[in-house]
């Protein structure tokens, strides 16, 4: 079969990859329909992410059940499914506090697409515990968005929005992550959402998506609003989620917290970036900064959210600037994404 593998000099198309076999009696072999590309995949391609040498990349996967091993009770060939990226043991301290990614027994994330073969291939072998049925009216593209949506839901959970009607929420960055987050927050009834997006083209695109309770600003507009209101403790946001990982955006963003405000790092900053937190200000105004990564158990909630968004007509990716590519065109997909020509790439093996 064809598959995209990670090696020390980047990504390669393997035309003669072995079709996967059952690994144990709970294995399910999936014929992959869609493998989404994510920012983490770009980092892996550029040598900045953790990945097993030779592994097939891709952790945002959906497809059709092809074959099931003897111990698999629920799934049957032909069923449409989405694949969860990671799982904990369910029994240790970290699993018990919704932090399975630090699971003692699995020793951290075992990602499809990093330490196990992932979805940018014609076939993929997974565990039945990571397999989820999807309804017929959910597209494979939508289903592949479940994995990123689960980490966005995690970021919203960590942001701990006190009052959907009155809390002021800021999402920094209108790439696919920021857009999906705003989509989710708007959908669950958060009334005061601001989204900042640097480029005017993208702001136009977002305006076309017609979110109800979302104000879209440029980063400079917001910053100048901040400067005009310094000293007013009512100005600012209660919950800020950064979806850029950009140092300047983060440094400015922290200034936009109002008392008791919570800043969430969702976008991944560069490894060498440190910030000087004003401890007195954080203490005096009860501010908070938190990291958000992923919570494997959020996948199920995320799937429910994706299904509802889809049925509400809110998952029209082509309006978002998303594009599909064949497996052989993966290099174009990555470069279009990296050059910001598109906002999201789906590989269709």
């Amino acid at each position: 079969m064809k598959a995209v593998r990670v090696t020390s000099d980047g990504l390669h198309l393997d035309r003669n990859a072995q079709i996967p076999e059952f690994e144990h009696e709970h294995s399910v072999i999936i014929k992959v329909a869609v493998a989404g590309i994510c920012g983490t995949d770009i980092n892996i391609k550029n040598g900045k992410g953790r990945c097993k040498d030779g592994a097939i990349i891709g952790h945002e996967t959906s497809g059709i059940v092809h074959a099931v091993a003897s111990g698999v009770q629920i799934f049957k060939p032909g069923q449409r499914v989405a694949i969860k990226g990671t799982r904990g043991c369910g029994n240790c301290y970290f699993c018990s506090v919704r932090r399975s990614m630090y699971c003692k027994n699995r020793r951290g994330i075992i990602y499809y697409g990093t330490t196990r073969n992932g979805g940018m291939a014609e076939f993929m072998v997974v565990d039945d515990a990571d397999t989820y049925l999807i309804p017929d009216d959910l597209s494979f593209q939508g289903a592949s968005m479940t994995e990123p949506m689960s980490s966005l839901i995690r970021s919203a959970y960590i942001a701990s929005i006190e009052d959907k009607d009155n809390s002021k929420v800021l999402v920094i960055g209108g790439g696919i992550a920021g857009l999906n987050l705003v989509n989710y927050l708007d959908f669950i009834g958060v009334k005061h959402i601001t989204l900042t997006q640097r480029s005017e083209n993208r702001r136009k695109l977002i305006a076309n998506l017609k979110f109800k309770n979302v104000t879209v600003l440029s980063d400079t507009e917001l910053h100048s609003d901040y400067l005009q209101n310094i000293g007013d403790q009512h100005w600012g946001f209660d919950n800020i989620i950064d979806c850029t990982g950009n140092s300047e955006a983060i440094e400015n963003g922290i200034k936009y917290l109002r008392p008791a405000g919570k800043f969430v790092m969702y976008g991944v900053p560069s490894k060498d970036f440190s910030i000087n937190i004003n401890a007195f200000d954080f203490m005096f105004r009860e501010k908070q900064i938190s990291g958000a990564l992923v919570q494997p158990n959020d996948f199920e909630d995320a799937l429910n959210v994706i299904i509802k968004l889809s049925r509400a007509g809110r998952l029209n990716f082509h309006n978002y600037g998303a594009k599909e590519y064949n497996l052989e065109d993966f290099e174009t997909a990555f470069s279009d994404l990296e050059s910001r020509k598109i906002i999201k790439a789906f590989i269709l093996p």
Binding site: M101, N166, A260, N276, A279, E286
Partner: protein, 352 residues
């Protein structure tokens, strides 16, 4: 009447001719003061490191007896001993609506009795509102009641810590001054199982060890740092909840490294205005770490009253065991000086 005040030019001083406060509105209560605690923040004020309006009366850890009541006051009677909640919000902003009056731009620090505009209780009388007052039982001494306000702030910090499990979470308290000791005492009382307290000086560590807590490990900053370095490759070493009760910038910066994944660092101890923590953000993101501030208290005072009574009745509030000492109000300078020299962990001014 007498009152202890602060002024930028004179510093800390006692004023003898202060007018006794009068009832202004029908919900006011005049309380005759019995005891007022001296807190680390009061010490900062006396050194000019914490801003208060000139000539305001200090004292926010208070116990007194109801002296006069306005004609709409129903919850207390003259002669009742009460503890006084200093928190006041505006009752009509986002922060007051979401139950954090300590963050109210018009309330918060500005209206905290003894730290802002309203005069505090290091005096013979204080003007309060009926809603501020909490009657206390006869078997609680006035000095023990002084510890209610600090506990109410610690309860806020504990809530902000958001500990996942009293049985399994690893909790580190930084500092064995009165803040750290009081928190340790309370957490041990509510059966938090994995408590570590870090205290630099040996004599203060000895005091903690003498208190005989079952589930508490007492460490020095040096030994804790050694442990950290020994385990630098062990992702699972560290603490889930760290509460700083030192306010010391170096202690905060160093101990931030001791968080394990998902851990939360609470800045509780009042640090100087120019304190910064350098935080590598990728690690914070990947490990889902949290840094939260905690300041004053959002009316956790009522729960603090209940808990101080329980602690006292369990024999856990013998003040001398915690390094607390009483002084007459006239001897206020010794109280502040002994706190400053770390001879005591807390001074309590007695008005009678």
């Amino acid at each position: 009447m007498k009152a202890i005040k602060y002024n930028k030019t004179r510093g800390l001083y006692i004023e003898h001719n202060v007018s006794i406060p009068k009832i202004i509105n029908p919900n006011n209560v005049i309380v005759k003061m019995l005891a007022a605690g001296i807190c680390g923040t009061d010490l900062s004020i006396s050194k000019g490191n914490f801003p208060v309006p000139d000539d305001s009366t200090l004292g926010h850890e208070l116990c007194g007896v109801v002296h006069k009541i306005g004609n709409k006051v129903k919850n207390v009677t003259v002669g009742q001993r009460v503890a006084i909640d200093p928190t006041k919000g505006c009752n009509s902003c986002y922060f007051c609506d979401t139950k954090i009056p300590n963050m109210c731009p018009k309330g918060g620090i500005i209206k905290y009795r003894g730290l802002g505009l309203p005069d505090g209780g290091m005096a013979q009388y204080i003007l309060t509102d009926d809603v501020d007052l909490h009657p206390i039982p006869d078997d609680l001494t006035s000095s023990q009641a002084v510890l209610i306000e600090p506990l109410s702030c610690l309860l806020n910090a504990w809530k902000i810590s958001n500990v996942a499990s009293k049985d399994h979470s690893k909790v580190l308290i930084l500092g064995g001054g009165i803040g750290g000791l009081h928190l340790l005492n309370y957490l041990d009382f509510i059966e938090v199982k994995n408590l570590t307290i870090c205290q630099r000086s040996e004599d203060r560590r000895k005091r903690i060890e003498k208190l005989g807590y079952k589930n508490v490990t007492v460490v020095s900053d040096v030994s804790l740092q050694e442990e950290y370095l020994k385990h630098s490759e062990d992702e699972l070493w560290g603490f889930d909840n760290i509460i700083d009760c030192t306010g010391n910038p170096d202690a905060i910066q160093t101990a931030y490294n001791y968080l394990r994944p998902g851990g939360r660092f609470v800045i509780y101890g009042c640090c100087p205005a120019n304190t910064f923590i350098k935080v590598p953000l990728q690690a914070l993101t990947f490990k889902e770490k949290h840094i939260s501030g905690s300041f004053l208290q959002p009316h956790t005072y009522g729960v603090a009253v209940e808990n101080i009574v329980k602690l006292a009745r369990s024999g856990r509030l013998e003040l001398s065991n915690y390094g607390v000492q009483e002084y007459s109000i006239d001897d206020y300078k010794s109280g502040f000086a002994d706190l400053n020299s770390r001879k005591i962990t807390k001074g309590i001014l007695l008005m009678d």
